[in-house]
Amino acid sequence: MPSARPADPSRRRLLAGAAAAALLPALGPLTATPAGAADPADILRRPIPSTGEEIPVVGMGTWITFNVGDSEPLRQDRLEVLRTFLALGGGMVDSSPMYGTAEEVVGWCLERLPAAETAGLFSATKVWTTWLMRDGPQQMAESRRLWGLDRFDLMQVHNLEDWEDHLPTLADDKAAGRVRYVGVTTSHGRRHDEMARIMERHPLDFIQITYNILDREVEDRLLPLAAERGIGVIVNRPFRQGSLFRTVAGRPLPGWAAEIGAATWAQVMLSFVVSHPAVTCVIPATTRVDHMRENMAVLRHPLPDAALRRRMADDLRAL
């Protein structure tokens, strides 16, 4: 669902971000409306390069947070987290068979939400085969059952495991309509060379990588390559699995945080990630409704321009 380009002159930094995106021909422009807008449609979105379909730039991960087993009280807590995410305009929910009961819990939550509340869901999971579980198609069918879906929006090869086997299967699934988009993932900065080779030689809609204000290696190669090849980018570990919060613990927000509407360090870190023009979506994970509200507020904030991004990174590195 496209939204209007910002025209407010006070949103210079956002426009600068859009201008940066325009320099990358394979990427569509940023679209957003003024901060604080009440309409859930008026949020920061990015187009998926391969189709132009726009998705909100803040999604939700489920690593650890949704792996709560059979516990009814913990499932109820996660239901409220997911409800809040979707109510605030969230789209992409990313999981994996590797995350224990996370897929089952996501499905349990979706089953309990009215269809109107889940209309914006962009379902993303992964195929993850190991020596214990070799059958990718069977695993993907199980994931559909767990989520209660007929098809996924995005199916990714988890951590590049057996990607040579899975990518042809995913291409067939995409052609058959069992999945809309396909991709590959990695995390913790691992196997970037192999990922680059796959990006150069295979048709992908998405890659998923680790990127945050301190781990910026992907800016050198993978992000420009994604832009060049028209591949969407999903970012995991935007908070370094929480360790960035320990880095900034007890420190006041810098003055520049106000320029991007950030009231918390989490918003600073998310704004940094999504302000890179090649990034399509970031997927922070949380168990708390108040943290989810913090994360989703970024959808309505102005983004830092290149100069402020440099300053943000320099200041964080100096801590």
């Binding site: 792996n67 709560v68 087993g69 059979d70 913990l74 590797m98 224990g100 009961t101």
Partner: protein
């Protein structure tokens, strides 16, 4: 990097204990009995200890790792196999070959073994008081992995004569794994179990050397 949080693990343990109740209590009683037999130098103490410990390892492998923990952790089926292997080793060495005689503490290794066994039995369940679920989430020796491994290490140090390394290897390895897990989940006293594993290595080595030299084991 673990795929679950401390809160979720405590919740899992609470539901596991509840589903098995009164098995955790029975396990506690049985293991206390094993310790009592050892201290009384009962004739069949070694065999009974080996069979009881084997039952605890097999139960923990199957009921905890394979049937419960596997939902949270993809590595749990591997742990289950290892725990069953330890159970088989205990049955073979301690019951079939009757090669696990127990003794009252005589030296530092035995004293450490007794201390370890008491901590595993009485202290480890109390760590759950720090969780939201309280004692309901207690990790109990014989049905939960960490105290089972620690108690086993304690009993092996209490052995009269040499402590077989093939029986100690997995409990030591698990104490490292358990300590690392506790550290990854935020630290706390459970992290110290790694030290128990670390200390067990020189204690067993010195104990076995003493036996080789003809001194009391």
């Amino acid at each position: 990097m673990l795929p679950f949080s401390a809160d979720v693990l405590a919740s899992l343990l609470a539901r596991y204990n509840s589903a098995l109740w009164p098995a955790p209590l029975a396990a506690l009683v049985l293991l206390t009995g094993v310790l009592g037999l050892a201290l009384q130098r009962a004739e069949a103490a070694g065999r009974i200890a080996a069979l009881t410990l084997a039952a605890g390892w097999a139960w923990t492998g199957i009921a905890f790792h394979a049937a419960t923990f596997a939902s949270l952790n993809f590595a749990a089926p591997i742990y289950a196999v290892l725990f069953v292997v330890q159970a088989v080793l205990l049955v073979w060495t301690g019951a079939v070959r009757d090669a696990m005689p127990l003794a009252r503490p005589q030296g530092p290794a035995e004293a450490a073994g007794l201390g370890l066994a008491v901590i595993a039995l009485a202290g480890w369940p109390l760590l759950a008081l720090g969780s939201r679920q309280g004692l309901a989430a207690a990790a109990v020796g014989g049905v939960a992995p960490d105290p089972t491994a620690l108690f086993t290490l304690g009993v092996l140090l209490l052995m009269r004569g040499r402590t077989p390394w093939h029986l100690a290897a997995l409990p030591i390895a698990w104490s490292f794994a358990g300590g690392a897990t506790a550290w990854a989940l935020g630290g706390g006293p459970a992290t110290l179990q790694a030290l128990a594993g670390l200390a067990a290595i020189p204690l067993i080595y010195l104990k076995n050397r003493r036996v080789r030299q003809g001194l009391p084991g």
